[in-house]
Subunit: 253 residues, 4 copies
């Protein structure tokens, strides 16, 4: 039976600031990427989100990012591979503390925002992140853009990886995401987004913005948990996936 992991970024609130509808979204996903206090999240939010995710049987991962709260980790920072290694260790460790305190397991690691995008293209940065993950726990699964340098780096260091695809983003001929600055970057029509997902899972193919068939490996699907219609979209995607005979389950199972 075909299966796909549904992952969602979580725990992005901070102090008095609340974003996302984590508690409800958790009912429809299989993996939660929890912010670790650098680009979002704080010790209290992390504690609560870890507890919620574990109680609902959702796999918990560390969502690691740049130390740039005001920019939400979305601004490129020119850090060295050594610094990438160090902030990866720090953030995974911090989240791991909450998971250990709850008696749960850390399942995976996924870079966030600008770090995700840079690690998809920069081999040295990707290797530094992959090595940090491996050194903390070589059974962790490294999430990265399908076919990217981060995925290759994970495989190179000996980690299990999860090739990630997106429902609401279009792809170029090279299998990369169309840049957000491009007019066709986003798929706003829910039905089309779902069709793209089903095709990627069933056929390993996505149709690029140029109309070409592009091979793509879809092991985990990123769903966005913020925005007013997020919850509805998550429900819809999950329902359609299951109606197509595809099982939703975390990577580890």
């Amino acid at each position: 039976m075909l299966s796909i992991d549904l992952n969602c970024d979580m725990g992005e609130s901070f102090g008095i600031y609340k974003v996302g509808d984590d508690e409800k979204v958790l009912d429809y996903i299989s993996s939660a990427n929890i912010a670790c206090g650098f680009h979002a999240g704080d010790p209290s939010v992390m504690n609560k989100t870890v507890s919620l995710a574990l109680s609902k049987g959702v796999a918990v991962g560390a969502h690691i990012g740049f130390m740039d709260l005001v920019g939400f980790g979305r601004r490129n920072m020119n850090i060295s591979p050594k610094e990438a290694f160090e902030i990866t260790i720090y953030q995974i460790g911090a989240l791991y503390g909450f998971i250990k305190a709850e008696g749960g397991n850390l399942s995976h690691v996924k870079p966030h925002g600008a770090l995700y995008n840079l690690a998809a293209k920069d081999k040295n940065l990707a290797l530094a992140i992959a090595e940090a993950v491996y050194k903390i726990d070589n059974e962790l699964i490294l999430y990265g853009l399908s076919g990217s340098e981060l995925i290759k780096a994970g495989e190179e260091v000996g980690l299990r990886v999860a090739n990630e695809v997106f429902a609401d983003r279009t792809y170029s001929d090279d299998g990369c995401l169309t840049p957000r600055t491009h007019k066709d970057a986003l798929i706003k029509e829910g039905t089309i987004a779902v069709q793209q997902v089903i095709k990627m899972i069933k056929e390993g193919i996505v149709i690029s913005t140029n109309g070409n068939q592009v091979n793509i490996k879809a092991e985990t699907l990123c769903i966005h948990g913020d925005g007013s219609h997020a919850l509805e979209f998550v429900k819809k995607v999950r329902k359609e996936i299951e109606l197509n005979g595809i099982e939703v389950s975390a990577m580890r199972t």
Copy 2:
């Protein structure tokens, strides 16, 4: 044979800012309390300090503090027990990441500065910290002011504790440290400081500023690693301790 643990705060550098002579001091102590990025330290400093301490066979502990870098964690903050629990978990976890990546063991936890002082007197705060430590790993040793609320809280939750004494501070009749605002708070004469230490270890007694004999439990001795004469003082204290037939060894051994 009598024994004492010699502990020192370490890893208090940050970015371009360097303090302490960690590498050399590590040769004379048995336990290192490493800052976790809240009151001092950063991922790079933590990585380096953990690696150094482990390579020298020194027991590694998490030195947890208030999120107040500009105040070096020395200013009281009115946080709730729940918040204390959460920042304790976060910081221990972050340090644990570096230790795990190096294949070492986390040995102990010691609050820093204002958090140390508050937890010595505030039972609820002390219990929150002790519970966080216990939940992460119930084999960790909790360091606290000898006979303080933190020590009692550690024992209450089932942790092994380390009653901490100071060489260069004077004591009141109740076994507490003389406040730093008091003119006799500090012992500036190295020989007298050493004598106080020896007496505390051998006899379990300290002479208060009022001249009274006060019972005190001395399991670990705090040595300060900054300041221009720190290294010399550390050497001197260790030498005198050993000359008095007392073994210097970490709590766990």
Copy 3:
């Protein structure tokens, strides 16, 4: 003609985090207290909020707080008067930059949260804040809890002050706010809140929770701009004030 200033805390968003309905609330108030990046706000939010407030003819003030973003400046920090002086100067200056860039005027300064409450009772802290305000610009108006130490300190250093009252909080016999922990601390019935305001403005009297008449000076009324019903409540308060023949206008006019 009787008059009252209506002030509201503004610019409390941060990065991707949005709170408050500043643009709409600005239409109903006479003074905006804008966060300066310590307890809330960031350079972008400050820039936008200053611009909005000035464009709507609302008096602009610096809302200064503790450097405690994760705690929203609501947690007491034990800072020295010297540190209070310095963070007051820094924050006023930062906001002043945006106002100067827009060609506007800085009208007032109001401490936020825990700093507001501490400065209401701690004379030395209050004096340090007042002196900082005076040194930057002796024509600034210092906002503080009606009759508090901060008001007295402002008068002592030679500043114009604004005695602040609250619509939705009850008062003790000594003219202080009933602590939030008290069951009757909040006035949840809008009509009663408005009646209290009108009485304070017209008669200089508030009825304490014990039922006693207490003298109170009401020069500015604090309205909360967050929460789902904030905008409606602001509208209602303003309407009722004006129906009672009281003019709403900023302190300076």
Copy 4:
């Protein structure tokens, strides 16, 4: 009579961390660039440094940087021109607060580290910074790498500018600094550094690493105030400059 401004980065301490020998260096320079709390400095350090500089008659400028304390503002961050405008305003304002409180004048603005280097090449970033400076006070002098985009942007918006040169760095044929990664980037021989400075001031020429004569405008000379030999080097440079009949004076005089 020929003249040159000697500027030095100051106020780079933070909390318990002390760097530089500001008080002594101030005796030999004409302009101080004071960190504003983003890449270095804190309200207390700013207060003290502003006071010292003003008391010694040294011109005070805002040394603005990226919000990256742990990286000391030396890591490129991909911020938008709008964000550059906003962090420029914020930092200048914050420093201006301390200067206003002391009754002094703000003289100039100089970007720090990565922001300095990016603004030397990126026209849009340079214009955003220049416009921010102009909007706060159009009499401020904008410091930038001699002949860089930042200097051009300053002139374009109508600011007075200061073309900055370095004593201890080598230059390429295009008048830019040799990258620090180049083996000949630094001039370690004090006498050669001084000769380069004298030549730049007297002849408007620097000899590039390729041996070519390159035109360069030298209005202000950057001296580094940290490092163990900084004070001696500053003294030596100033002495040699004066022995060559060149006056050391701030830009404004």
